[in-house]
Symmetry: C2
Subunit: 158 residues, 2 copies
DNA sequence: GTTCTAATACGATATATTCGCATTGTTGAC
DNA sequence: GTCAACAATGCGAATATATCGTATTAGAAC
């Protein structure tokens, strides 16, 4: 990871320039949302969060900025099965660090867990190395999610 | 032609009746598609596959049947990131057995791999037990996917 | 066969996301 | 600082997957 990533705003925005994108207000504001929020945000969530203060930023621009941030590896795109994409800071930029997701099929609640992270890292590394050799894929990412019913939804018998 | 227990159409279709659904032609035809195909099919794929022979079966019915089959645990629903759901026979009914997916980000190709299946099973079991205790979730499923570039797409520099 | 009602086809609709294009704003050269 | 090039944007329209409403059809219990 380049040293300037993960420091204050002035450095954060360098991302854009570095990859040939212009540093616009919309892009600064949207990136800030991720640095100031721990949730898994949908495009609309972000639009609503910034709309009061920045009514000039359209939903289309939010989508376009998310696409860029995702391609640059700054944010990660997830699908928790509720029909819309959700985003969070990539784990190498995130205070939460590397983690996976536990999703409740009843209410959609998502728990970020990082228990047994060593075992997971070991597992993923082994599989990646194997797949890489066996199928000659250049592995760029993985997805580990568990589904189930949270205590509340279990009670309600959803 | 004699059918062995648990195999063959006569027993397959019993699924529907057992759960209070009527055994219609559409449902038989759609279930047969899964037993005769190893690919990961989208709703439209299935619709197109059967449309020549059974033009009376609508896309809506395909969607509704997939919903039922998924709820009954007969098929599994996957998202490989191409914007449409894809389905395959559940692993306990599938000749391929338990496996996970390796998806090429370039061309969308999906490889079913079952290498290191013991290590994976062990890993998943451990995590499930832990999450179940720690977060009091009743775990019902998991998702393990790896992403990367296949040899062809790597060459093309996609 | 008759009857009850689940299942269906069809068109309309919902919802997330992307596109086309005229306009605006950032940037680098001067 | 000014200016020109063109990237980025807003807006409305379009796309695409999936779902819904309703009149009609067909499965299955008798």
């Amino acid at each position: 990871m380049p040293y300037h990533l993960g420091f204050g705003p002035l450095h954060r925005y360098g991302f854009y320039k570095r990859y040939g994108f212009r540093t616009t207000q919309a892009r600064q504001v949207i990136l800030d949302v991720f640095y100031n929020c721990k949730e898994h945000l949908s495009a609309e969530d972000i639009y609503l969060k910034i709309h009061k203060k920045y009514p000039g930023i359209s939903l289309t621009t939010v989508y376009r900025t998310l696409e860029i941030l995702n391609r640059l590896g700054i944010i990660e795109k997830h699908d928790f099965g509720d029909g819309r994409a959700r985003y969070e800071l990539a784990h190498h930029l995130c205070k939460k660090g590397h983690h996976h997701h536990l999703v409740c099929s009843g209410c959609g609640k998502v728990i970020d867990y990082d228990d047994l992270v060593d075992k997971e890292t070991d597992f993923i590394k082994t599989i990646e190395e194997h797949l890489s050799k066996r199928y000659r894929f250049k592995i760029t990412g993985h997805l580990v999610q568990f589904f189930g019913m949270c205590p509340e939804c279990s009670k309600k018998g959803k």
